[in-house]
Amino acid sequence: MRLALRPYFLIVPALLLTCGILYPFGLGLYYTLFDFSASKPQPDMVRFENYSTVFTQEAFWNSAWVTVLYAVGAAFVETVLGVAVALLLHRSTLLGRVLEKILILPLMIAPVIAAIIWKLMLQPSVGVVNYLLRPFGLGGVQWTDTPTGALLSSIAVDVWVYTPFVAILALAGLRSLPTSPFEAAAVDGAGWWYTFRRLTLPMLWPYVLVAVIFRFMDSLKVFDIIYALTEGGPGDSTVVLQIRAYLEAIRFQRYSFGISYTIVLWAVVYLAAMVLVKHLGKIQRKAAEVTS
């Protein structure tokens, strides 16, 4: 009996701390049933009115659209670029071995600091990016002051910070692939592209997909990069869901309403996680077939 209880006993402290987080989560869920705000400290129970307001607001659908654009864009570019960098580093030249050591650096910088750095570099009149582009006749680009530019700039910061993450996972994957299929392909005289498409990519895909899942889910709840770079502007062009929740709950002090935004986001992230993890299982089984 003592032995059967021991693992629970060891996990209890961690779970207690976790409950310290679960409690506010539950409290937040409870708050969304009221019209709790700074102007109304004695709230009435409104049941699901906050949620029905969320879903009928044009601002919500705009935010949802911006969030999806951002997450898909960032995850896609990071995957392609990260895998490319990993493949180049895997060639293991002297240059690659030297550069590999510093690959991790952008990932170690707080995203909010990265956003500040890029904000300074992208200033239209005095930023260094436009200064360097001037010889090419592109000196006056309004990077973060146009809707499309602001979205692309924030994705660029995300790409700068997180591409190393994808590259590291892809590189770890490349190094753990079995060598025999590649030797066999080389003996058969298979070209680089054929080997890449038929062997490397299918076997590497499970590793890459884990990275994609992490990046996609994290980008869906992006906050710090946008907060420091554009604060959601110009207009509503980069107001992702967490920024909208922040504006509603903290700036306009409509607490319950702001939390309902994050609850909707939470639900979406969980659904996305479930679908992706299920897909991951399928991909892993397929990869195992190729390897064997």
Binding site: G28, V85, P106, W118, L120, F223
Partner: protein, 274 residues
């Protein structure tokens, strides 16, 4: 001939990516060394000065940056220490015993990595105001568990799982208690893992922005929030912002360079093995 051309193209592509990756950091160094009156005039030629750092570290401009730096150290170390104390036994238990609900419990822990921060922050904000935890070290350490604990449990779990149980069983046969077997046999063997995961967790806690932004105002504010304050004002002082940004990334960057090998292992373990 063709092979050499391919090699040349690959090298160029690699160098281009690393220019993109490293230029912003180098540019911050340049910007931070510029004197205020030369900020906008010349780009790569100027007379370098450490005035920017002096202002930032000397509490000028009314922003107590050094205190924010110390705050970051205190709350990050605190969060990592607390997470290790509760996380190591949990990781060990889940690696050694398959028990009812173990996978679900572990998944619950991991799932906090994917929860939008603002969902818990807003209720915590209200709660902290009531409990007097707003803008305090205790409040920050408590909430940073959300970042550090899942990381430590998940990575240490795979380290413990890599140890063969026979080692501890042999210790038990020698008359060790379970507790002694854990502390004298299992724990010393995963020491390198503990060191790596602690530093990784420290970096993640240090880099967090949302929690200090909303749950602190002045007393317990951290560098990530503090660095933003130099952007305000009528005439943005870019050199001060750059200096503040650089000072705030020194600890994570130094750690990353020293334990680079282990960090990569930690990052890929956390993702690939789970």
């Amino acid at each position: 001939m063709r092979k050499r051309l391919v090699g040349w193209v690959c090298d160029t592509a690699l160098i281009l990516y690393f220019v993109f990756a490293l230029f912003p950091i180098a540019w911050m160094v340049i910007l931070s060394l510029k004197p205020t009156d030369q900020l906008f005039s010349t780009y790569f030629s100027f007379s370098p000065t450490l005035d920017g750092y002096r202002t930032v570290l000397g509490d000028s401009e009314g922003i107590p940056f050094v205190r924010f730096f110390v705050n970051s150290l205190v709350v990050s170390v605190g969060a990592v220490a607390l997470s290790l104390v509760v996380g190591l036994p949990a990781a060990y238990a889940s690696a050694r015993w398959r028990f009812k609900g173990s996978e679900n419990l572990m998944f619950t822990l991991l799932s906090f990595r994917f929860a939008p921060e603002l969902t818990v922050i807003i209720p915590l904000f209200v709660l902290y105001q009531k409990l007097g935890l707003f803008d305090t070290y205790v409040g920050m350490v408590w909430v940073l568990q959300l970042v550090t604990l899942p990381l430590i449990v998940w990575i240490m779990r795979s380290y413990f799982a890599d140890l063969t149980p026979e080692l501890e069983q042999a210790a038990l046969l020698d008359g060790y208690t379970r507790k002694q077997a854990f502390f004298r046999v299992a724990l010393p063997l995963v020491k390198p893992g503990i060191a790596a995961v602690s530093l990784l967790a420290f970096i993640f806690a240090w880099n967090n922005f949302v929690f200090p932004l909303i749950l602190t105002s002045n007393e317990a504010q951290t560098v990530t929030v503090g660095a933003l304050s130099f952007l305000g004002g009528d005439r943005p002082k870019y050199n001060l912002t750059a200096a503040a940004a650089l000072v705030s990334v020194v600890p994570p960057l130094l750690l990353a360079l020293t334990i680079q090998r282990y960090l990569v292992r930690g990052l890929s373990f956390g993702a690939v093995k789970s």
